[in-house]
């Protein structure tokens, strides 16, 4: 007479199971993104010559490796129900610090360490302010955004080129793949980050606490979970990812400039949302965010293949696609419990 659910123990045939398979509703948004991505790619392949080639797919990763890392960090924050508006500015700051320290003769390893320490420190600071002073994440990270951008200007108003040998080589390096294809070290780094993030989110207490805080922070607290550590930690992680993304971006642009990455935080947020993570927290997967980045990248590829679109049509196109995606996601999640 219990109102609990009954676990069915009938044993259907293998084919029966395949036929009636319905993925758990929590995977639906990511699957929708996946479908959208393949759909867009198919349309592109039909419309444009040479669109549907493997190298084009790989180039999506190559050109957006930094955004993937950024989106991973943002996913952690959004899963707890927060948001991080500072990431674009921290990317810019990272490129500035990289260029500046390298120009002063620092060894590359030290430059990298400096960037990661500063970016993680900034993230940690924001997390502490958000949790212990109870300031809304939007405002605290907005202040962080101004702070980071301000520090950029403090370092230098003009752009600083990166001439370091190691960076140069890394930037141009290509990792050959079978079939005449190639990828870059940046992509490998990005994918490793994604793998680590997925492991942390699904197989560690910290990661599960991230989901718990997003689902119900008060419950997580009463359950005795380490909420404070988690809430502060996700911002530190986002800071670290921003720093790393900044390094990858520096590899890409080979310069440090205060006007880099303006508005990149919105790209990261869009990617995470497209990837199926709910802004209210508690639901989402890093794989989804990666797919979100790929969707955004595909839009850019569409535009560059088309060649005829003026810059304002680009903006409109991105807006329309974002809208289409968000409405689709809404229709799908409406059916969820």
């Amino acid at each position: 007479m219990s109102a609990g659910s009954v676990t069915a123990h009938a044993a259907p045939s293998a084919w029966g199971r395949v036929r009636t398979y319905r993925p758990p509703s929590r995977y639906l948004p990511v699957l929708a993104t996946c479908a959208l991505f393949f759909g867009m790619f198919a349309i592109g392949g039909v419309r444009y010559e040479g669109f549907a080639s493997s190298q084009v797919v790989l180039n999506l990763f190559v050109d957006n490796a930094f955004l993937i890392v950024l989106a991973v960090g943002m996913t952690f924050v959004i899963l707890t129900g927060g948001i991080d508006l500072s990431v674009g500015s921290v990317v810019a700051l990272s490129t500035m610090i990289t260029a500046w320290t390298l120009r002063d003769g620092w060894p590359p390893v030290a430059a990298v360490a400096a960037v990661l320490v500063v970016s993680t420190g900034l993230g940690l600071l924001m997390g502490l302010v958000i949790h212990y002073f109870d300031i809304q994440p939007f405002i605290a990270t907005l202040a962080g955004m101004f702070l980071a951008r301000g520090l950029c200007y403090l370092i230098s108003i003009e752009s600083i080129p990166i001439r370091d040998r190691t960076f140069f080589d890394l930037s141009a390096a290509q990792i050959p793949l079978p079939g005449g294809l190639y990828t870059t070290p940046a992509v490998v780094i990005a994918l490793v980050v994604v793998g680590i993030a997925a492991f942390v989110l699904h197989r560690t207490t910290f990661g599960r606490t991230v989901y718990a805080v997003g689902g119900s922070e008060s419950s997580a607290l009463l359950m005795g979970l380490r909420v404070a550590r988690t809430k502060v930690g996700v911002y530190a992680i986002s800071g670290f990812c921003s720093g790393l993304a900044g390094l990858l971006f520096a590899l890409y642009m080979l310069s440090g400039y205060s006007l880099h990455a303006v508005g990149m935080e919105l790209d990261a947020i869009a990617a995470v949302v497209i990837g199926g993570t709910l802004l209210t927290g508690g639901r989402g997967f890093v794989v989804g965010s990666v797919l979100g980045v790929l969707v955004l990248g595909t839009i850019q590829t569409f535009i560059s293949f088309d060649g005829t679109l003026s810059s304002w049509w680009t903006k409109i196109a991105i807006g329309v696609l974002l809208l289409a995606f968000v409405v689709l996601q809404r229709l799908v999640t409406r059916r969820q419990p």
Partner: protein
């Protein structure tokens, strides 16, 4: 004493006062105003005039935030408004006529109304989260503005139009008058009618409000329309100031300033109770800050840094105070359970 310090406007006003003091220390003649050719001049006047667009946008933003939403598209809407008005005025005959100026502005505002309806539709009918719903227009909007101006910066030559941003009436700048008029109208509308209370109710608990018969959907929709129209007015002001419509740069990042003004003024981003007076103080604070930086000799590169520090300090000052002003003090650190409630 605690009645004074407990008042929600106390901290923002104090911050503003301190800022003015700093300015006066740096430039003793800071507060001087003078009348010249029947016009009022002075630093304070400039601050108020420069702050008018931000105040307008922030007023609309206050209502949207009170319904638990946010409107990131206001900058783009402002750009669109300026673009539509300028293209209308500059196109065809009679560029300088007052009639053209008025119809141009009217058309621009109607367009903004439609954009507000669009945002409101996404949020209140489709149930899309406000930050994403308005992000769509924020992204596409500038493209739309550029479409209207065909990628050019459209200049206009119209005395009536220029008066919006640069004109004077009875010694006061028109911009300030418009901003104050909208402020007064909004205050009247929200506090003399039940609109304010209903907005707060919807923001605090939308489901309970719905069950009590509040037309939550209509209220939320109205808030976004209002926000868009305010942004449109601000856009007209900005375009009038430069006598041109720059689709790319008009109102750039004004949404951030508006949100900051609202938050500094004491309204919580989580929705619910809001304070128009607080938003006014917040907007004045931000524009005063922008004027302070060159005034006390800080290089403009450190603009951002300064802004960041000040925002952090003001918000920190506010946060325990905001809790205290609700007359229920939270107990230990992060215990999110309500204090003093039923045992």
């Amino acid at each position: 004493m605690s009645r004074v310090t407990g008042h929600p406007l106390f901290w923002p006003l104090l911050a503003l006062a301190l800022l003015l003091v700093v300015n006066v220390v740096a430039t003793p003649s800071f507060l001087d105003v003078r009348v010249q050719d029947g016009h009022l001049y002075g630093n304070l006047v400039d601050i108020a005039r420069n702050g008018a667009p931000v105040l307008l946008v922030a007023l609309g933003m206050t209502l949207v935030i009170a319904t638990r939403g946010i409107d990131l598209s206001v900058g783009a809407v402002a750009a669109i408004a300026g673009a539509v008005a300028c293209v209308w005025i500059a196109g065809g005959a009679g560029e300088g006529s007052a009639g053209k100026a008025l119809t141009g502005c009217a058309i621009a505002l109607v367009v903004c109304l439609v954009l507000g309806l669009w945002n409101g539709f996404l949020v209140s009918v489709l149930g899309i989260q406000p930050i994403i719903a308005t992000l769509v227009l924020m992204t596409a909007g500038r493209g739309l503005a550029m479409l209207v101006t065909d990628g050019q910066i459209t200049t206009v030559n119209n005395a009536t139009f220029s008066r919006i941003g640069g004109g004077f009436v009875l010694t006061l700048p028109v911009a300030i008058l418009i901003a104050l008029a909208v402020f007064g109208l909004t205050a009247l509308l929200t506090r003399r009618t039940a609109l304010g209370m209903l907005v707060e109710s919807v923001g605090i608990n939308p489901e309970a409000s719905r069950l009590a018969g509040v037309r939550a959907r209509t209220i939320i929709w109205t808030a976004y329309v209002f926000s868009a129209v305010c942004a449109g007015l601000a856009g007209l002001m900005i375009a009038s100031n430069t006598n041109a419509a720059d689709a790319n740069n008009a109102g750039l990042w004004i949404e951030l300033d508006a949100i900051l003004a609202v938050v500094i003024g004491g309204t919580s981003l989580a929705g619910g109770r809001f304070s128009l007076g607080g938003t006014l103080v917040g907007a004045l604070f931000l524009t005063t800050l922008a004027a302070t930086i060159p005034n006390i000799g800080i290089p403009s590169e450190t603009n951002y840094l300064f802004k960041a520090v000040v925002v952090i300090v003001v918000c920190l000052l506010q946060s325990p105070q905001a809790r205290a002003s609700l007359a229920v003090r939270r107990r230990t650190r992060p215990a999110p359970v309500e204090a003093g409630a039923a045992a």
